[in-house]
């Protein structure tokens, strides 16, 4: 464990060192490629005056609400499309089609429908999450060996109980991978929306990034990118990784 930590730390320290050396070599203008030190300085300053914290809070709040809504809508719809042919032929095909649409394409629509508002943001995030979640859930439920629900039925399980105690847990590995994918889509669509849409009700990380470009503040651009990466990593490591480890122990395979 310690050697793994050590190897990982060494790798990232080396990466920063390489960055530092490239800046030192002055191949590119420091306006285009700021030094690690100046990025760190920006992050420190932004953390102290509270802009970073505020932007992170605004972004994470949008993300959680949008992603949560996406799950609340997507999971049940996926269960529906998996269990009823007519749902599969309607909602399922709709989901398949809309899932192929890059979520940034929803931005103009959201702006016209909702104006410069939080609702526009949420709309984009939900649209980015919900379709892939429907498809992942549908696939997950369809791949469950039918013997599970047959065995459950002989033991007296019916209707809702079969759903909550057999079908959903049996599909869990697939639901998790669907949720992970949904998370990635939500995160991407939110960033796209925040970069393109200036919304007065809150100033998120995407907007911070956008203004970094406007002001030609490269240290801000790279600093914010780093923050976005770190949030993505933190969510993966704190939310998904433990669930995956549990599943690996239980199922014996890292399915999905």
């Amino acid at each position: 464990m310690i050697t793994r930590w050590l190897a990982a730390s060494l790798f990232f320290v080396g990466l920063i060192l390489a960055w530092h050396l490239v800046v030192k070599a002055q191949i590119w203008s420091p306006l285009l490629l700021p030094s690690p030190a100046s990025v760190f300085e920006y992050l420190q300053g932004a953390a102290q005056d509270g802009t970073l914290e505020e932007a992170t809070l605004v972004t994470v709040r949008r993300l959680l609400i949008g992603y949560g809504l996406g799950i609340i809508v997507g999971l049940p719809l996926g269960l529906l499309t998996a269990s009823f042919r007519w749902c599969h032929d309607t909602i399922g095909i709709l989901a398949l089609g809309l899932q192929t649409l890059p979520s940034v394409c929803w931005v103009p629509l959201a702006l016209l429908w909702f104006g410069q508002s939080e609702s526009a943001m949420l709309f984009v995030v939900v649209m980015g999450t919900v379709w892939s979640l429907i498809i992942a859930t549908d696939n997950g439920v369809r791949t469950i060996p039918p013997i599970y629900s047959r065995a459950a039925r002989t033991m007296g399980s019916t209707g809702l109980h079969t759903w909550t105690h057999v079908i959903v847990p049996a599909a869990l590995p697939f639901l998790l991978s669907g949720m992970k994918q949904g998370w990635a889509f939500a995160w991407r669509s939110l960033m796209a929306a925040e970069i393109y849409v200036t919304i007065l009700s809150g100033f998120g990380l995407g907007q911070l990034l956008h203004y970094g470009r406007e002001l030609h503040a490269m240290d801000q651009v790279i600093g914010v990118i780093l923050v976005i990466i770190v949030i993505g990593l933190a969510v993966d490591k704190s939310l998904f990784a433990p669930t995956e480890r549990f599943m690996y122990r239980r199922w014996g395979t890292a399915r999905g």
């Binding site: 599970y148 065995a151 459950a152 002989t154 033991m155 847990p169 049996a170 122990r249 199922w251 014996g252």
Partner: protein
Amino acid sequence: MLTIDHPPAPSQAAKLVLNHVSKWFQTSSLHVHALDDVTLRIAEGEFVCLVGPSGCGKSTLLNIIAGLDHADSGTVQADGKPIDEPGPHRLMMFQESALFPWLTVLGNVLFGLKLSNRLSAAERREKAEYFLELVGLKRFMHSNVHELSGGMKQRVALARALAPNPSVLLMDEPFGALDALTREQLYGDIQRIWSQHRKTILFVTHNVREAVCLGDRVILFSPHPGRIREEFAIPLPRARDINSVDLARYATEITRVLKGYVESEVAG
């Protein structure tokens, strides 16, 4: 091996009664006559084995008795009442282990208990542990399903099927995927458990020796359409050893009859 007294003769009350049961399956290209006019009476506490080549409708018959499937004609009754849905008095044990991988061994055994009984959590737990002990796996109760061998999985499946105290146990080639040595152990276990708990067991297999080793009666099925051809009483004392000469004699005779049906079928 435990020595077991010859079990008391089963009472004459009919537990399961099938009258002229027929079943067809319609697939896109075929119209399959799965069961043809099957009539069968199984007494309370009896151990009956259904033998036949694969595809002869044995499993279909078991599914109908379990209530997972319906007969197209004829009647199926348990305790004098028609069977139209699965019930906790008739539990089924499947060919491949149908254990739930998202639950531990204990969780699997508790699954049926939670559904069928109005027991307190402590009583359920006690019962589950008792049946795991009975199949010799109590110390694995907190294990995950994938950590068990094939034979252990089927033992857990047996404990799970026994725990809600069904009166009928339907077993669909439960030992088919196991190696010979593990199977022999399980023959001993199942006979011991049957003699202790007196369930009515309907056991489907294509292994004639297995059928003779376990059954009070062996019922011979032939395919296309699936129908009962012959019935053999096996009066051998219990517990039976699958390797005994007497048992082999019965098995040889039944195999010879079975081959006759299969060959006449091939000849048309």
